[in-house]
């Protein structure tokens, strides 16, 4: 299964499942990343982490380790 972490800059994907539990998962969901959301990978920070995503029309930065919790299907 592909996770958001493996997506390259400029690619888009649809979220298929969120792994994990608790605060981090809830926060990711609260920010609008849920099953079915389309995510566009805008860029990766200059030092290689975190990632910048475009979700629901705004910019969100998520650490790669947390991106690993987000399973996606590439568009």
């Amino acid at each position: 299964m592909k996770t958001l972490r493996q997506m390259k800059v400029g690619e888009s994907a649809t979220v298929t499942r969120l792994r994990g539990e608790g605060a981090v998962k809830r926060r990711i969901m609260d920010m609008g990343i849920i099953k079915g959301t389309e995510v566009y990978v805008r860029k990766v920070a200059p030092l290689g982490d975190p990632m910048e995503l475009n979700v629901r029309g705004y910019e969100l930065s998520v650490r790669k380790a947390d991106c690993d919790m987000i399973e996606v299907e590439q568009l």
């Binding site: 609260d30 920070a45 200059p46 030092l47």
Partner: protein
């Protein structure tokens, strides 16, 4: 009648601008009880008796972050008359997510559809009437930045508060979930107030632990609720929290389709995206970051900052206040001790602290601009990779950088760090970075003892940075800083031009909170030190004495053996260290006085006339001198900085812990250095050497040990309690 209206909304939704617009200068800033979350309230302009309570900027009402818990506790327990929900119209989808949660609380609510000017400029159209009907809430279009609509929103909120609870609003969820919620409502109907029934039921459905604890439901009811939730989860094939979140966003998506017409754009790049393409670009981001930091440091610390600090310290407090006052007191025949108390104790002490204020204001101004523009979030984005390894935030870079000028504004700059744990860690470690006032000690030791060796000063910065890293790694693994990792899921807000009123207000609030502290705790501490250093018992009489015969010297004699394992177990060095609490550069001056150096030691150091400082040099060996330097670089900072720590931690306990940690860490490092240096130079292996070696291994152990898994231990306990 007093009416309270709560102001709730996402971060970056223009909430603080709206708050300033509504309240003007009638604001009170404090902290929410027991936490470091800022609490602001103010009187509504033009409507006497109405108080606006600003809630922290939040994205949700989950039980996981301090800000969110503080907000929901306020809404449920303090029962404000009405809520103004600020919604950023240019980022409608995510902003409405919080709205769907606020709607569930049975408090009258009006939506301020903010940044409507941006929406129009983008060419988008929001069908306000339709949206308002769907949500069951009044909506007023506003542009807080331009002062549009704020008054109408407040008026409407006031009217709604008079009407009161009007029954449940639109139902957000689908049939299955609504069905479960209805069942839960039946179970707890007699336990909670009717208007909060829906909110509590949804929280119970989500298995919100905070609510479960608060309601103290019987095991029977809890079991029933668990069955209802589990059934729904089974049917929907997901966990309750996810189901609720999914359905909220699904509901909002439907609203978007019917109420929002977006003008098609070329590509998906906005102006803000284009700025970001440069500012956080792979290759340009770091050079731009360095340039921004350099400009900030150059203005706030090197040039304007240094000029205003020198002016307030030397000219304003020195030449304009202290000298004439001393002359006047003498002329008026005031007793020597009184004039010394006023001039040296009070004015000297407070002046040393207030001297930082102009520089701090300049710095806070620039920080406020960086925050308001939206660059601060990018700083965290760029630096996160490095800093999070040490339990710090990417934003910790700024406090550390400023701390190299002065720890006080550095510590106060940590306020931009959202996460409480990261902020505490930053506050605790910022004073390790050698500040400007520590430079004279460095110059003294380097010049008078090491023959102006080039490596002394750079090694101090290196040691400071190393101390930050080592402490970060060690503390991160302790119980106090353990727990679930803070999610770094951060919005990168749209860039916008800074609003002068916001920026100035933010600058003044921070400056003022420091000034207030200078007037209380720092003043008392300075007076205490003055008292102990100016009075002593001579020939059985309690009289005003030179420092050598003061109580402080007596205490220094008593404490000196404590520092013997560090190589400087003499009372002069001890007294100078204690005086460093007033201001670190005092150490040099006091050493000069106590070593009977002719002239002002501080000036001699500045002039590089180290020959005249032989008296001080005679007190140390090379090993003990460097150990003394190490201890003074790393131990508790001056009172002003401790006051700033107290302010930012909002807890006496944490402040004491921080100061204690700094002292113990400094002691351990200086001792390890001195004992090992002595061992290599003299070959003498003593008990103290053994202790130092043990300390060194303890330090290495703390650094590399595997952190105990407090987080999962906590989860296990919860599972045990829940009977899983």
């Amino acid at each position: 009648m007093r009416l309270t209206i709560a102001l709730a909304g996402n971060p970056n939704s223009g909430k603080s601008t709206m708050f300033n617009d509504l309240t003007g200068s009638n604001q009170y800033v404090g902290n929410w009880p027991g936490v470091t979350v800022e609490k602001k309230e103010g009187k509504l302009k033009g409507m006497p008796g109405v108080v606006i309570q600003d809630l922290p900027g939040i994205y949700s009402l989950s039980p996981y972050t301090l800000e969110e818990v503080v907000s929901r506790n306020y809404l449920i327990n303090e029962k404000p008359g009405a809520i103004i929900n600020i919604v950023d119209g240019s980022n409608l989808e995510r902003n409405l997510y919080l709205t769907t949660q606020l709607m569930e609380i049975g408090i009258p609510m009006v939506i301020a559809l903010n940044m409507i000017d941006v929406v129009r400029k983008n060419g988008d159209t929001i069908n306000v009437k339709k949206l308002s009907e769907a949500l069951g809430c009044d909506i007023v279009e506003t542009s807080a930045l331009k002062g549009e609509g704020s008054v109408q929103v407040a008026q409407r909120a006031g009217e709604l508060a008079k009407i009161g609870y009007q029954g449940e609003r639109a139902h957000v969820f689908g049939g299955t979930v609504e069905h479960s919620i209805a069942h839960i409502e039946d179970l707890i109907r007699d336990k909670v107030e009717e208007r909060y029934l829906r909110w509590y039921s949804i929280k119970l459905f989500e298995r919100d632990e905070k609510v479960m604890e608060q309601l103290k439901l019987s095991p029977d009811i809890l079991k029933n609720i668990e069955n209802i939730t589990a059934d729904c989860e089974k049917e929907m094939d997901d966990d309750a929290e996810s189901i609720v979140t999914n359905e909220r966003y699904a509901y909002i998506s439907r609203l978007m389709q019917s109420c929002l017409i977006k003008k098609p754009r070329k590509g998906n790049m906005t102006v803000s995206d284009r700025i970001d393409r440069v500012v956080t670009n792979r290759f340009l981001a770091l050079p731009i970051f360095v340039a921004v930091m350099f400009v900030m440091y150059y203005i706030a610390v090197t040039t304007i900052g240094a000029i205003v600090t020198d002016f307030t310290n030397d000219t304003l407090f020195g030449a304009w206040i202290m000298e004439p006052l001393a002359a006047w007191l003498e002329g008026a025949g005031t007793a020597g001790w009184l004039s010394s108390l006023v001039v040296d104790g009070i004015i000297g002490g407070v002046g040393a602290v207030l001297g930082f204020v102009p520089q701090m204001l300049i710095l806070f101004l620039m920080l406020a601009i960086l925050e308001d523009v939206g660059y601060m979030a990018r700083v965290a984005f760029i630096m996160d990779r490095i800093f999070r390894r040490f339990g710090l935030s990417g934003k910790s870079f700024i406090p550390m950088l400023i701390g190299s000028g002065c720890s006080v504004p550095g510590i106060m700059a940590s306020r931009t760090i959202e996460n409480e744990r990261d902020r505490r860690m930053t506050v605790m470690t910022t004073s390790f970075i050698p500040c400007g006032a520590k430079m004279p000690i460095v110059a003294l030791i380097a010049g008078a003892i090491f023959g102006n060796a080039w490596w002394v000063a750079p090694s101090c910065y290196f040691i400071g940075v190393a101390a930050v890293i080592v402490s970060g790694v060690i503390l991160k693994k302790t119980r106090m800083f353990a727990g679930e990792p803070a999610p770094f899921v951060m919005e990168l807000p749209t860039y916008h031009a800074p609003a002068a009123s916001n920026v100035l207000r933010s600058m003044w609030e921070r400056g003022w909170s420091f000034i207030r502290r200078a007037g209380t705790i720092i003043l008392l501490a300075s007076m205490g030190i003055w008292f102990f250093s100016s009075f002593g018992i001579i020939d059985g009489a309690f009289v005003m004495a030179d420092m050598e015969e003061s109580m402080l010297a007596a205490a220094g004699n008593f404490m000196a053996p404590l520092f013997a394992p560090l190589g400087f177990g003499n009372w002069r060095a001890t007294v100078a260290t204690v005086m460093g609490l007033v201001a670190k550069e005092e150490i040099v001056g006091v050493l000069g006085v106590l070593a009977r150096v002719s002239g002002d030691a501080l000036e001699l150091v500045e002039e590089g006339a180290f020959a005249g400082l032989a008296g001080i040099a005679g007190m140390f060996t090379t090993a003990s001198a460097f150990a003394y330097l190490l201890f003074n670089l790393l131990c508790a900072p001056c009172f002003a900085a401790i006051g700033a720590m107290r302010r930012e931690m909002n807890s006496g306990k944490w402040t004491w812990f921080a100061v204690g940690y700094l002292c113990v860490f400094a002691y351990a490092v200086a001792m390890i250095y001195y004992q090992l240096a002595s061992l290599f130079t003299t070959g003498a292996f003593t008990v103290a050497t053994t202790v130092a070696v043990i300390l060194l291994f303890a330090l290495i152990y703390l650094l590399f040990r595997k952190p105990a898994d407090y987080a999962s231990a906590g989860i296990k306990q919860k599972q045990l309690r829940a009977g899983v």
